[in-house]
């Protein structure tokens, strides 16, 4: 029963929103390598979304290209989700390991990524009046990913419906806390840097005199 290859498992998980991840858990399958590949594709999709849209659907600021926001919007965001969910669900009797959370969540992102690439390609053939097709695909892809993500968290931790909702809300809160701490840390580092540079300037002036 259910002897699928890695590729077939991705297909199975994506096309079976309710049992796909349960099956995966039952057969203890899912590959971390594939998960990382999907997150990398998410990163590419974020760039494509910001940069490669057809010109008739708006211009992107093309004087400079800064890759940091795209990394933050894809890879860092995903990492924050995984870490946040793991730290919350460890406390909430979740059964998932960090590895499994990462794999399942990444698999759930496939429809979103597909949607981005499809709409980016379509945007080069459609005009503004036909934007409804793009919107429909966007909503479909994003909605599907949301459902899959929910199902993934539910199966990986073996939660009930209500508990999954609770866990997801807490996960988002945890992500915000992490962001807050990160900003705090950055500003602290900056302060220390300014302090050191001031001391350096002061000393260098004294030496010169």
């Amino acid at each position: 029963m259910m002897d699928l290859t890695t590729k077939e498992w991705v297909k199975h998980a994506v096309t079976h929103p309710f049992e796909g991840f349960e099956d995966m858990r039952w057969k203890k399958s899912g590959s971390l390598k594939v998960a990382f590949l999907i997150v990398f594709l998410l990163f590419l999709a974020t760039i494509a979304d910001g940069r490669l849209y057809g010109f008739q659907f708006g211009v992107s600021y093309d004087k400079t290209f800064n890759i940091i926001p795209y990394i933050v919007k894809s890879i860092v965001l995903f990492a924050a989700w995984v870490v946040g969910n793991w730290s919350i669900c460890t406390l909430l009797d979740g059964e998932g390991t960090m590895k499994n959370i990462c794999i399942y969540s990444a698999y759930a992102l496939v429809p979103y990524i597909a949607q981005v690439f499809i709409t980016v390609i379509l945007s080069h053939f459609l005009i503004q009046d036909e934007v409804v097709f793009i919107q429909a695909i966007r909503i479909l892809g994003t909605g599907w990913t949301v459902i899959l993500l929910f199902s993934a968290i539910k199966s990986v931790h073996q939660y009930s419906f209500g508990k999954t909702v609770f866990a997801i809300v807490l996960t988002i809160a945890a992500m915000l806390v992490m962001l807050f701490l990160l900003v705090l840390f950055m500003s602290l580092v900056q302060q220390v840097y300014i302090f050191l540079s001031t001391i350096y300037t002061e000393i260098s002036y004294r030496i010169r005199v």
């Binding site: 010109f55 008739q56 004087k63 005009i127």
Partner: protein
């Protein structure tokens, strides 16, 4: 004799000024500042000058003595300039070349024959309908209406109406009149708009008040006011918008400007007869997009539009007090040129006060330098104005050549790309239009051009497209069948293999069973033999 010599001197100065201007023209790029414009992202980029400072005219040049804090300049329908010389309590009428004084108004004859003088006048207007002079006589708290000979026709003083708060002063700063003879007066310390008087001089109300800008503080105050008592509310500072600073009339519309360091909305308005602002919902920004930060004063230099003038061709000229710059917009509020700066040289200003236009020239009055600076249009300005006028009138194709010419002068000029893209779109050259729309960063035009381009492409390649689609469909069908066949074959092979394996297994079973049986039999016979031996 003395008069003649003064005239001669003034002529000589004017001649020298004219010569100097000619020299500066040949030298070109004589502005004491870097000319810039804005790109689509609101970032300043170098640009070509649309105007160049020609000369600065002072009261001494005109032979009437230095101006003192002049506050307004107005050109009437006969191209006579009226300069309000507030510090000297007079109005100087100058000819269109700004070389000779036509008349100096310092005292007026009242209807009863007595003389009256001005006291710090601030604004002047001459109506084209009846040649009346309207003077905002600030410290006399009145608006004087006189004919061009200096005979007072009417005097408008502080209204006694209940609508006008009697505790408030009546200090006219600027005045205009519309075709029907209604008089509009900008008053100091009044934030409810310009006071409006009917042709008889009766107060009829206020016109064109600014809106309060919804800043965070004001929104917060509103929310707390829901919970505070009436007494507390009465004691709190009221939120009032900034009053109008200046205005200009163009046909049926009155354009107002507001110079304020805090208010950023409603700085320039286009009001119809009912007082409705046409620009209200257009999200326009006048003046510099990114205000400069002044390190010496530790403050952001917010634009403060202190005067506005509508040129004969409909262009809107705004004078920014903070930076001493004239921002010229076309009638659709697209920025055309930025001229002037804060500087000592000709073309730079100290305290700009008022702005006037005549034909292609700009006249800027400086109340500290006490001069009128004349800016003349450059070649580049001429082409841009020509192209803009054609474009705005809807003659896109006729505007195409001027726009190409503009691009030859200045490849950064965004409006030109928009113009070329629109013209090519109208012509049906969709591919070219797409190219220029992309250069102009205009998705709207690109969208239309792309629609046409796609339609053309579909028409030209419809057969191939259908053929291609059919081929792809057939190919997919074949592929699917092939895959099916392959799968079936594989399955069959697999089953056959399984059958063979099962057969082999079965045979082995049989063989083993036979062997076992044989062995058993052999054993049995052996045992029997043993038993036989024991028995025997």
């Amino acid at each position: 004799m003395r008069n003649i010599s003064a005239k001669l001197i003034s002529l000589a100065i004017a001649g020298a000024a004219a010569f100097g201007s000619a020299a500066s023209f040949t030298a070109s790029a004589a502005e004491p500042y870097d000319v810039y414009n804005y790109d689509r992202w609101g970032e300043a980029i170098p640009s070509q000058a649309g105007y160049i400072a020609d000369r600065a005219v002072s009261g001494i040049d005109l032979g009437v003595g230095a101006f003192s804090s002049p506050s307004d300049i107005f050109r009437d329908h006969n191209d006579i300039f009226y300069i309000v010389d507030g510090g000297n309590n007079r109005i100087v009428a100058v000819n269109s070349e700004l070389t000779e004084v036509v008349k100096v108004y310092d005292s007026f004859t009242m209807p009863d024959g007595s003389k009256t003088t001005l006291k710090n006048p601030q604004g002047v207007y001459v109506s084209a309908e009846n040649d009346w002079l309207y003077i905002a006589d600030n410290e006399n708290s009145r608006v004087l209406i006189a004919d061009l000979e200096g005979n007072v026709i009417k005097e408008i003083t502080k209204p006694t109406s209940e609508v006008y708060d009697q505790k408030r002063t009546f200090l006219p700063q600027k005045v205009i009149a519309d075709k029907a003879g209604n008089v509009y007066v900008v008053l100091g310390n009044i934030t409810t708009g310009a006071a409006m008087f009917d042709p008889e001089g009766e107060f009829t109300g206020f016109y064109g008040a600014n809106r309060v800008q919804p800043t965070a503080e004001i929104v917060g105050n509103y929310i707390t006011s829901l919970f505070t008592s009436e007494e507390k509310k009465a004691r709190r500072r009221r939120n009032v918008p900034t009053g109008i600073t200046s205005f200009d009339i163009d046909g049926d519309f009155i354009f107002t400007c507001t110079s304020s360091s805090t208010q950023t909305t409603d700085t320039v308005k286009k009001l119809n007869a009912a007082g409705r602002n046409i620009f209200a919902n257009m999200e326009l920004a006048f003046g510099d997009y990114t205000p400069m930060y002044d390190t010496s004063q530790n403050k952001v230099l917010q634009p403060a539009i202190c005067d506005i003038d509508i040129a004969d061709d409909g262009n809107i000229n705004c004078l920014d007090f903070t930076t001493g710059r004239v921002f010229q917009y076309d009638e659709d509020c697209n920025l055309l040129f930025i001229t002037g700066t804060i500087a000592k040289q000709v073309g730079g200003f100290d305290h700009v006060a008022a702005l006037e236009t005549m034909g292609e020239n700009l006249y800027v009055l400086d109340s500290q330098k006490d001069t009128v600076t004349v800016f003349v249009e450059t070649d580049f300005g001429k082409i841009v104005h020509k192209a803009t006028a054609l474009h705005n009138a809807g003659y896109y194709e006729e505007a195409l050549d001027p726009w190409y010419e503009v691009l030859k002068h200045d490849g950064n000029y965004r409006r030109a790309y928009v113009g070329v893209a629109s013209a090519l779109l109208r012509k049906g050259d969709y591919e070219g239009s797409m190219k220029y729309a992309e250069l102009a960063d205009s998705p709207r035009i690109y969208n239309k051009a792309f629609e046409g381009y796609r339609m053309d492409w579909l028409k030209a390649h419809f057969g191939q497209l259908i053929l291609g689609l059919a081929l792809i469909a057939v190919g997919l069908f074949m592929l699917a069948r092939l895959a099916k066949k392959k799968k079936a074959a594989e399955l069959a092979q697999h089953m056959a293999q399984e059958d063979a394996a099962a057969e082999a297994e079965h045979q082995q079973h049989v063989r083993e069973a036979a062997r076992k049986a044989v062995e058993e039999m052999a054993e049995q016979s052996e045992n029997e033999g043993k038993e036989d031996e024991q028995n025997s």
